[in-house]
């Protein structure tokens, strides 16, 4: 993956083992994307503008299970990236409190790609 130094991106990393339906997955990813954006409004406004103006790039990736998701969350936090972990309210499909999706970004594409380069698209 090659990218110029000022490209920005957001990744939404979902747990494959939960076998969510398409609609459920979409809603969980939308939660992550919205929450990350709201964090960016407060803490990284210029980055947010750049990301929005360049098409608000988002991709949805998968991890095998919860531990892999938590490791990535830790790495992203250490890299000083915006992260948000979505816990489901449990109205449908899965028990309340289940961690479903990790959102990372908007942030520099290079730093985010470095963390997620081994993950498969969902």
């Amino acid at each position: 993956m090659s990218s110029s130094h000022n490209e920005t991106t957001m990744v939404l990393i979902a747990r494959k083992d939960l076998k969510l339906s398409a609609g459920k997955l979409a809603v969980q990813c939308a939660h992550a994307a919205t929450s990350c954006t709201l964090v960016a409004i407060k803490s990284k406004k210029r980055l947010l503008e750049r990301w929005k103006n360049s098409g608000a790039r988002k991709i949805c990736l998968q991890v095998e299970d919860l531990p892999s998701l938590q490791i990535l969350a830790g790495q992203a936090q250490s890299a000083n990236l915006i992260t948000h972990i979505v816990k489901d309210a449990g109205h449908t499909e899965i028990p309340a409190g289940t961690i479903t999706v990790l959102g990372i970004g908007p942030g520099p594409r290079r730093s985010i790609d470095a963390l997620v380069q081994d993950l498969k698209p969902y």
């Binding site: 609609g23 939308a30 608000a56």
Partner: protein
């Protein structure tokens, strides 16, 4: 409040007069199922729609946005038939004064560039939204 949003609050026309919000506030995301997108693709497109409509609502109806965020930012994802169906729903929504956001794909993957993938409605009151989206099935 920043200077710009302060000036905006003085000069912007009121979006709609709202008193007390006393019912559920939701965002409805209508997916164009005719495009047969993969799960991950749908998730990213719905993510776009949710972010855009959140930002739009922040400008046009901040009290509604606050309420929606504080009540757990409820979102539901439903099936739309095709692009025409989504456009028809958008018209209905605007006649009810409901915010809507259309997402057109950049066409990097899976589908032709410019396809209408998702229509976001709201966040708005359940009673208003249900007039439009009651017949749509959950995705």
């Amino acid at each position: 409040m920043g200077l710009r949003s302060f000036i905006h609050s003085l000069t912007a026309p009121p979006f709609r007069h709202r008193n007390v919000i006393d019912e559920e506030v939701k965002m409805v995301l209508v997916v164009n199922t005719n495009l047969k997108m993969g799960k991950g693709k749908i998730a990213a497109q719905v993510g776009h729609a949710a972010v855009s409509s959140t930002l739009k609502c922040g400008k046009e109806a901040p009290d509604l946005l606050e309420y929606w965020l504080a009540s757990g930012q409820k979102k539901i994802c439903v099936k739309g038939i095709d692009a025409d169906n989504l456009l028809a729903l958008e018209k209905l929504a605007s006649s009810e004064g409901i915010l809507s956001t259309k997402i057109h794909d950049a066409g990097h993957t899976q589908i032709p560039s410019g396809s209408l993938t998702v229509l976001a409605l709201g966040p708005d009151k359940e009673s208003l939204l249900s007039k439009i989206t009651d017949d749509l099935k959950l995705l």
